[in-house]
Amino acid sequence: MARSVTPQRKAINTIAAWAVGLVIFFPILWTILTSFKTEAQAINDPPLFLFFDWTLENYAVVQERSNYMRFLWNSIIIAGGSTVLGIIIAVPAAWSMAFVPSKRTKDILLWMLSTKMLPAVGVLYPIYLIFIRMGLLDSRAGLVIVLMLINLPIIVWMLYTYFKEIPGEILEAARMDGASLKEEILYVLTPMAIPGIASTLLLNIILAWNEAFWTLNLTAAQAAPLTAFIASYSSPEGLFYAKLSAASTMAIAPILILGWFSQKQLVRGLTFGAVK
């Protein structure tokens, strides 16, 4: 039986949800506000919230000093490429684990996840040496491969969870109608799992976009994405918080916009299967 919700309770819940949302969003909001201040205003005590002379100077300086478009383009290629490649590999893998499991399937899933528990720096040197030998250092192709491999366990796990929610009988029916394995995955399974695949895709784009260890360590001048762009504004000797904030805002803006427009899809995908 559905629980009745009084208007009062609804109002309290709404206020609480907004409060939590604002707390979570506050650091981003503060970064955006700081990007419109002068360096002196950025460190003012007490901190200035809205009432200061808004300036676009920091954006002009950042734009003049750095080739933003090159960093942005690299980020798009690396995050998009690694995610699409990961999905292509993970869909068949998750299909086999969800619909034709063996007695070792659970172990394999756990083993895949365990690779995420290794500190990244532990394999920096081997990967760096492999990259030197293969000529992949400071290349977008190299980063696409590395980020795909890093996020693959998460992609497989998420897709596996979504696929498990799809009744196997539907696939069986498709098979009885004469569908080949390829047709079964492409035309029956994938359309039914679209919300799950979409949310996996979006989440992995965000993860790859924000990845800062490998993108900083394996790139130099050519393939560096927006993480390197932000890092270049951090200074040990000098207060450049406003410029750093402007660079950060420019780096997160594309992903923030993407998240805003796809939030319904994201929420639907993340809660997929939770309510029947």
């Binding site: 360096e39 002196a40 460190i43 003012n44 005590d45 000093r65 920096l124 040197y125 760096y128 040496l129 030197i132 030998r133 293969m134 000529g135 992949l136 250092l137 400071d138 290349s139 900083l216 360590n217 130099a220 001048a221 560096a224 390197a228 890092a231 270049s232 504004y233 951090s234 200074s235 040990p236 000797e237 000098g238 207060l239 450049f240």
Partner: protein
């Protein structure tokens, strides 16, 4: 050969045959400090004069260190010039990782480089990195608050004077702290500062047999003095304050004194950034009464060439340009003498226009007062003032400074921290085979 290198080679070949005049490109790894950013802006002049294109990779200091170390040890060849400091240069030079800068042109005038900088960036008498700018540390103080306190800052004060002055200047109600000092964990942050303080109390990191010295009374005296001073006259939460946090406090008029890098002088006297720009005086870093060593350090951001680069000649050409007298004149002509990279060349301090810059004289005196080959009262087997130039130091000192920061945060006592520092350092040094 990989497909990529094959393609690169083919492209290079086809471009080469297409005609001469193909631009050579060098890649430089650097940090986001004001002087470095300015250099990026002027690198067009270098390209115009030589035809050599310059690509910049700017990174946060610790990331840069990790990044260039990975590249240099694996011979990755990502960078033709690296921005490194006085800590890495002698160690890397000794390992054969850097190209010796022993054939710079006569016009470059290598003898013009300040002796302290040249020594600190050399190994066995060979220069391995050319200083772009150098720094020591000194006292920056508020002349108005000092006057209000009825005190007169000597040119070379003692710690005892600094303590009395700091207490007299402190006004908690007006949020004025008598003194702001680094307490943040990290070998290059609070670790560097407490090491120079310890030097000025007669302490040292190691004796001549590489035995850790944290169990000696000088360390206890230095650390206790520092903690008491900051309790009485320092800002709240100083255990997390580093260079930038103290710079921010000083610029907002919340510090009576600040002992830190000499390059900070140009920031605190810049009226566009600082609310106290016209009320700042300078003095030598202090010493403990009766101890000859002062608490000032020596550091340089320098340009070195990793061994194995394909663009060695072009890289050397760039280094000669960026660290030359002509570059200093170029910056002075466009941005004024207060904005030229300081602390690298003797001739700069002989320039009459530069002598008018308020902090020039004290910066030079501070640099000259620092001796990295003889940094402590008792003899030591190492080179370096605020660091020990051995590869193990960064790891050990980071841990030790974390123990000290825990004291500043009130989480443990001075004795407990020194005991842990002694045990940890001894263990690490033994494991490293000293």
């Amino acid at each position: 050969m990989s497909l990529r290198s094959a393609l690169c080679a083919a492209t290079a070949l086809s471009l080469g045959t297409a005609g001469a005049g193909v631009a050579e490109t060098i890649t430089i790894a650097t940090v986001n400090n004001g002087d470095m950013i300015r250099m990026q802006g002027y690198s067009d002049h270098f390209t115009e004069a030589t035809g050599i294109e310059v690509e910049w990779v700017t990174l946060e200091e610790n990331v840069l260190r990790q990044r260039v170390t990975t590249d240099i040890t694996t011979k990755g060849g990502q960078f033709d010039i690296m921005t490194i400091g006085m800590y890495e240069t002698p160690i890397w030079g000794n390992n054969g990782w850097l190209v010796p800068l022993d054939d710079l042109s006569e016009a470059y005038d290598i003898n013009d480089i300040l002796p302290a900088m040249r020594n600190g960036l050399s190994h066995d008498g060979t220069l391995y990195a050319a200083p772009f700018y150098g720094e020591s540390s000194m006292i920056m103080y508020r002349t108005d608050l000092m006057e209000q306190a009825g005190l007169d800052m000597p040119e070379a004060p003692t710690w005892e004077f600094i303590r009395d002055a700091a207490v007299a200047m402190t006004d908690r109600e007006k949020e004025i702290n008598g003194i702001c000092l680094r307490g943040k964990a990290g070998w290059g942050e609070g670790g560097a500062f407490i090491t120079t303080t310890a030097n000025s109390f007669g302490a040292r990191w190691f004796d001549e047999n590489w035995t850790a010295q944290f169990d000696q009374p000088e360390w206890k005296e230095a650390l206790s003095f520092f903690v008491d001073l900051m309790e009485d006259a320092g800002p709240p939460g100083y255990s997390t304050n580093g260079f930038n946090e103290n710079l921010s406090l000083f610029q907002q008029g919340k510090c009576g004194m600040w002992i830190d890098a000499t390059v900070a002088a140009s920031f605190v006297t810049n009226p566009e950034e600082s609310t106290v720009a016209d009320k700042v005086g300078f003095a030598l870093a202090p010493n403990h009464d009766g101890v000859e060593k002062r608490a000032n350090w020596l550091w340089a951001w320098a340009l070195g060439i990793p061994a194995g680069t394909n663009n060695e000649a072009a890289a050397k050409q760039f280094i000669e340009w960026a660290t030359s007298k002509e570059y200093i004149e170029l910056v002075a002509a466009n941005e004024g003498w207060a904005n030229v990279p300081p602390g690298a060349r003797t001739s700069l301090y002989e320039t009459p226009e530069y002598q008018d810059v308020p902090f020039a004289d004290m910066t030079l005196k501070s640099i000259e007062a620092a001796d990295p080959t003889n940094p402590t009262v008792d003899p030591v087997p190492y080179v370096g003032i605020q660091f020990v130039a051995i590869p193990e130091f960064a790891g050990i000192a980071t841990q030790v400074s974390q123990e000290f920061s825990a004291v500043y945060a009130g989480q443990q006592t001075v004795d407990e921290a020194l005991e842990k520092a002694q045990a940890f350092t001894s263990e690490e040094m033994e494991a490293a085979g000293y």
